[in-house]
């Protein structure tokens, strides 16, 4: 019997070795294996939180650009909302690319050349055109819905522009807050209503009180007595006009009749004069 013992030991050692090897496969993978892969191949987006004039905003992005910005109570709430909008999962990125963070901060501070791109796949061509047009409105200025409609070659689609702005997937970063009602009232705003719209425009340096007062008085365009062109009231080229030099118009017809032409910078409409 005794000469069998080493063999029995050997067999059980062999079994132990194979059991131990099998146990080496039971290693939990870091969760970043799934999120890292899915974001790299474009099947999921990353997201972060960022401080804005409207407080903390959740912001999702992928290799093509920014995809969703929302305010949310919790990470989970944002993840659910972003999934509903994008049809893709979003994963929290605790170390967003530095270059992107710099670009976002520069953009929020008014740098129009900050290298931000947007992922607007899944939106209609009209929606994309309207949103990208809104991006052209300078920091601290506002334009009416009809301006966007005219600029994208769909002058009659004013209401549709309103809808497009309301459905903006990336508010704050695509500045739909700079698109206002034709009568100069600020109008609706998806991310927190008119008061938020006022807050963010004020943060950009727009004199909101003046803008609303002019609008309430029926003013649509302004110019100076010595100038030859008429502008939207928030156009930067009007900001240096002294109050006694300022002249106002209730319509483009009135401005054109008085001999003024549309400003090159803010591009108000040219009135079609009868006869």
């Amino acid at each position: 019997m005794s000469d069998l013992r080493p063999r029995v030991d050997g067999l059980s050692a062999a079994r132990d070795l194979l059991t131990d090897l099998r146990a080496l496969g039971h290693t939990p993978a870091p969760s970043t294996c799934v999120s890292g892969t899915l974001t790299r191949v474009g099947l999921a987006d990353s997201y972060m939180t960022i401080e804005t004039p409207l407080g903390l905003v959740y912001l999702a992005w992928n290799e093509r650009g920014l995809s969703v910005a929302r305010r949310a109570a919790t990470h989970g709430d944002f993840e659910v909302e972003a999934y509903a909008l994008l049809g893709r999962r979003v994963f929290l990125e605790t170390e967003p690319p530095q270059r992107m963070e710099q670009a976002l901060r520069a953009w929020l501070a008014g740098d129009r050349r900050a290298p931000l791109t947007f992922d607007l796949r899944g939106q209609t061509p009209f929606m994309q055109a309207a949103l990208l047009k809104a991006r052209e409105i300078p920091y601290g200025e506002v334009r009416p819905y009809s301006w966007v409609a005219r600029e994208i070659g769909r002058p009659a689609a004013v209401r549709a522009v309103g809808t497009a702005m309301a459905r903006n997937p990336v508010p704050v970063f695509i500045p739909c807050h700079r698109v206002v009602r034709a009568d100069g009232h600020l109008g609706a705003y998806g991310m927190g209503g008119p008061e938020s719209k006022r807050t963010i425009l004020r943060a950009e340096g727009l004199n909101v009180t003046r803008a609303e007062a002019l609008a309430a008085a029926g003013v649509r365009y302004v110019s100076s007595v010595s100038g030859d062109s008429y502008c939207y009231p928030s156009c930067h080229s009007t900001q240096s006009i002294a109050p006694e030099q300022l002249i106002t118009f209730a319509s483009e017809e009135e401005a054109v009749t008085a001999g003024y032409i549309p400003c090159d910078a803010c591009r108000p409409p040219l009135a079609a004069l009868a006869g």
């Binding site: 070795l17 496969g25 999921a44």
Partner: protein
């Protein structure tokens, strides 16, 4: 494997959502394979992710019929094994001296090990669990000393639990060669462990 066939069919029908399922289903196994091949959790994470990204790129270039015919498991491990080989080769060519050894996998491994121990022994007996963990760590380190051809096969056979025919597909060798790599690799592990056990016993006696 039936689930493999179903996954291949899903990849043929709707690549995007099936690939998400593939990632969720296979990332742990690919990570375990990569960890045992490289010995470092950070390298393993990169390797597993790179494997899946390469798989995605390949799948995107295949037509539906080719995706349907895919044998997912050997195919994935073939990508992982090739990447591991290339990585080891370039590491030999450009050796990097790690300046932040303390920052590396060990901390995480230790934490993970502590967790496993806690899981395994909710009622105490931490001594036995600790001893077992030490034995597994030693075995993992020993695996890294095997020649690569043996290591791949031992991992696929005994950790991943694959059939020899599938392993032969992964490494592109005849089944006979694969079997001999497996048995030589295991024999070598056993011999080294035996030596160490004897050495430890002698040390205890002296």
């Amino acid at each position: 494997m039936a689930s493999d066939v179903a996954l291949a069919a899903a990849l043929a029908d709707d690549l995007d959502s099936a690939f998400e399922a593939l990632v969720c289903g296979w990332s742990q196994r690919l990570y375990a394979f990569s960890l045992r091949m490289t010995g470092r959790s950070r390298d393993a994470e990169e390797l597993a992710e790179e494997t899946l990204v390469q798989a995605w790129r390949a799948l995107a270039g295949y037509d539906a019929e080719r995706r349907r015919a895919l044998r997912v498991r050997p195919w994935l491990f073939q990508i992982a094994a090739n990447l591991a080989r290339n990585r080891a080769r370039s590491a030999r060519r450009n050796p990097v001296i790690s300046l932040d050894a303390g920052d590396d996998a060990d901390g995480q491994n230790f934490a993970a090990a502590a967790e496993r121990i806690a899981d395994a022994d909710p009622l105490g007996a931490p001594g036995a669990a600790l001893e077992r963990q030490e034995r597994l760590d030693e075995l993992a380190a020993l695996l890294l000393t095997l020649p690569e051809a043996q290591r791949v096969v031992v991992i696929l056979r005994h950790i991943e639990g694959m059939q020899y025919a599938a392993i032969a597909e992964v490494v592109g060798e005849p089944v006979g060669t694969v079997k001999s790599h497996a048995s030589r690799g295991v024999a070598r592990l056993r011999k080294t462990l035996e030596h160490e056990r004897v050495a430890a016993a002698q040390e205890a006696l002296s």
